[in-house]
């Protein structure tokens, strides 16, 4: 199996007013292509810090990080930006779509920062990504004309459009109701089934049962790393939800 992410003893210290906060205290693990990993832990355990490191937004204080075989720690700002552009897809809790911008334009955004992609190709790929998240009929809808679930789908399409090595999601279902959360989870499972590598940070222990692997953090340490042999199907779970709303 191909290794996508390798962390070796990652530490991240923050210095706040003379005090040092150890957000990550020596985290090591390897993630292979096609894994659907959930990262869990209490608030302040370092999940977001870890995800930012994985997403090349943050550099660790010490330790080695290899993304797709490339060492990230020694990279400069601009190289990391390029790396994010080509290898990483982010999905945020609050969607972070551009205001008053159509779905297609939002999804095209990462490709605009890639000079190798032509305008025609850009649009075509954006439409393909939107179709794959079930929004083929919402291409020209603006972000303020969509529901939370739809906005998150657009965000997922945007994370997919550059064909990344890994998709990173931080509380991607945190702002959604149960039903919509499951719909998004169905989507992630579909992506997983198609061979995407996904790292999904969540508070919700239920969600871990729908992923193939679960990593638990506490105080900046990995305290558990378990393979899930009985991955539940989100489609089934969705079918069993009582249809109360509309």
């Amino acid at each position: 199996m191909k290794e996508i992410i390798r962390l070796e003893n990652i530490r991240r210290d923050f210095h706040v007013g003379g005090e040092t906060v150890h957000a990550l205290r020596g985290v090591s693990f390897t993630i292979y292509e096609g894994e659907f990993v959930t990262i869990m832990g209490t608030s302040g355990s370092g999940k977001s810090t870890l995800l930012n490191t994985l997403g090349c937004l943050d550099t660790p204080t010490s330790g080695e990080y290899y993304l797709d075989g490339v060492s990230v720690r020694t990279m400069g700002k601009n190289d990391r930006a390029t790396l994010r552009n080509r290898k990483i897809g982010f999905v945020f809790q609050n969607y972070n779509l551009l205001a008053k911008t159509t779905a297609v334009e939002n999804v095209e955004l990462p490709l605009l920062y890639n000079p190798n992609v032509t305008a025609a190709e850009r649009r075509e790929r954006a439409i393909r990504a939107l179709t794959s998240v079930g929004l083929a009929d919402r291409l020209e809808h603006r972000s303020n004309q969509m529901s939370g679930g739809q906005m998150q789908r657009v965000a997922i399409a945007r994370a997919l459009v550059n064909d990344p090595a890994v998709i990173l999601a931080d509380e991607a279902t945190g702002n959604l109701d149960t039903r919509t959360s499951f719909e998004i989870l169905v989507l992630f499972q579909e992506l997983h089934a198609r061979g995407r590598t996904i790292i999904f940070v969540t508070h919700n222990p239920d969600i871990a049962r729908y992923s193939s692997r679960n990593i638990q953090l506490r105080d900046g340490h990995v305290i558990a790393d378990t393979q899930n042999d009985e991955v539940l199907s989100a489609v089934d779970a969705l079918a069993q939800l009582p249809v109360t709303d509309e």
Binding site: D58, K77, R84, N85, F90, L98, K100, Y113
Partner: protein, 406 residues
């Protein structure tokens, strides 16, 4: 990162907030428009003064009675009667640098023709006046030396007088009009010269032999002025010296006595007026420049606010691969697009405003290409300059911080 994409990004960002873009532009529009309008007015008055002076005759010299006491009070009416016909005759015969000269006396009053009457001023002159002031006769003839000798009751009228008196389209030449009680036969009509830069109608006048005005209207023997033309404008100073010499001798002034007359040349006048209009232009341009500066600060302010307002957007762009310089470029391009568009609109508004000022207030304007270029360049530079700082601040944001920004 390619430039077309950056433009696309900046354009989309602007299109998403048209009102903000427009408000930012407003400062620039007003700045550029006012610079252009102010300079157009300043340059326009300067040019029209120059044009008027050269029309009037740039070699013209005017002699008036009374000492040159600018702003002072003239106590004695006799002071004003020092110029005599002899002075005029001597200037004509003795001053080699003076090519033409005419006595001047004038009288204001009511002009009457049929049922029409209009207030006007009759200028008493000799036929040389025509050449000195560069008037032309359009219709009929000018009065002659003979008319001067006989104090003939004849006159030559300007277009405005014709329009006011001959409302039924009669041919003025040969008609008899009345100036107060004195009937005057119209022998010619002057070609129109239009308004001068002070908004004075140069066609609202009647010329009559100076003898007629002196004897029949004013009952005086002295002259109110002598208007001369130097042989060439380069010899204006020499001509003025010669005239002063003749007058001092005729008036029996001793060494050390003040002149009892004043000599002015259009050249002096021109220099004086030009320096006034130059000062006016500088002041107007300064006012306009300040509004351009305020416009620039407006750009900076709005760009700065928009950087703060759009922190999350910047964080997002960075997280999906925008480099610091892409963000810098985006914000700079936004600022430049705003200021260039604002500049273009400002130029159009400025040109229109100038034309309106010209049409509505008869104010002479002249839009100088360099003033358009200059204000446009200044506004673009202001856009870049004032857009740069907020853009740089945006580009230096930490993506994580920016994403977390509430």
């Amino acid at each position: 990162m390619n430039v077309t994409n950056l433009f696309k990004i900046a354009l989309r960002a602007l299109a998403n907030n048209k009102l903000r873009g427009f408000l930012t532009m407003l400062g620039i529009i007003i700045g550029v428009a006012s610079v252009i309008t102010m300079l157009a007015i300043g340059q326009g008055s300067k040019r029209s003064i120059q044009a008027q002076i050269s029309e009037m005759g740039s070699n013209m010299i005017m002699v008036h009675p009374g000492a040159d006491r600018r702003g002072g009070v003239r106590l004695d009416a006799a002071d004003m009667e020092t110029l005599k016909l002899q002075d005029y005759n001597d200037i004509v015969s003795e001053c080699s640098y003076v090519s033409l000269a005419t006595p001047t006396v004038n009288s204001s009053g009511q002009l009457i023709f049929g049922a029409n009457n209009t207030p006007s001023t009759v200028y008493g002159v000799s036929p040389e006046y025509l050449d000195i002031r560069r008037y032309e006769v359009e219709d009929g003839d000018f009065f002659t030396e003979q008319d001067v000798l006989t104090s003939a009751k004849v006159c030559v009228v300007g277009k405005t007088v014709v329009d006011n008196l001959f409302t039924n389209g009669e041919n003025p030449v040969g008609q008899v009009i009345r100036f107060g009680k004195i009937p005057l036969r119209v022998v010619g009509v002057l070609r129109s010269k239009g308004y001068n830069s002070m908004g004075m109608d140069q066609d609202d006048l009647i010329l009559a032999p100076y003898t007629t005005v002196q004897k029949r209207m004013l009952a005086i023997t002295h002259l109110q002025g002598i208007t001369c033309a130097a042989v060439d404008e380069r010899f204006t100073d020499q001509a003025m010296e010669e005239i002063a010499e003749v007058l001092r001798r005729n008036h029996k002034l001793q060494r050390g006595d003040d002149d009892d007359f004043t000599i002015r040349s259009t050249q002096e006048l021109s220099e004086m007026l030009t320096s006034t209009t130059d000062l006016m232009t500088v002041l107007l341009a300064a006012v306009a420049g300040i509004s351009l500066l305020v416009g620039g600060i407006g750009i900076m302010n709005i760009m700065y606010v928009s950087v703060t307002e759009r922190t999350r957007e910047i964080g997002l762009r960075m997280s999906i691969g925008a480099k610091g310089r892409d963000i810098l470029a985006q914000f700079l391009i936004e600022a430049i697009l705003i200021s260039v568009t604002g500049g273009i609109i400002g130029v159009l508004v400025g040109v229109c405003a100038s034309l309106i000022v010209n049409a509505a207030a008869h104010f002479p304007i002249y839009i100088q290409p360099w003033s358009v270029l200059l204000s446009f360049a200044v506004c673009t530079v202001a856009g870049v300059f004032f857009g740069w700082y907020p853009a740089r601040k945006a580009s230096q944001l930490d993506p994580i911080e920016a994403l977390r920004y509430e």
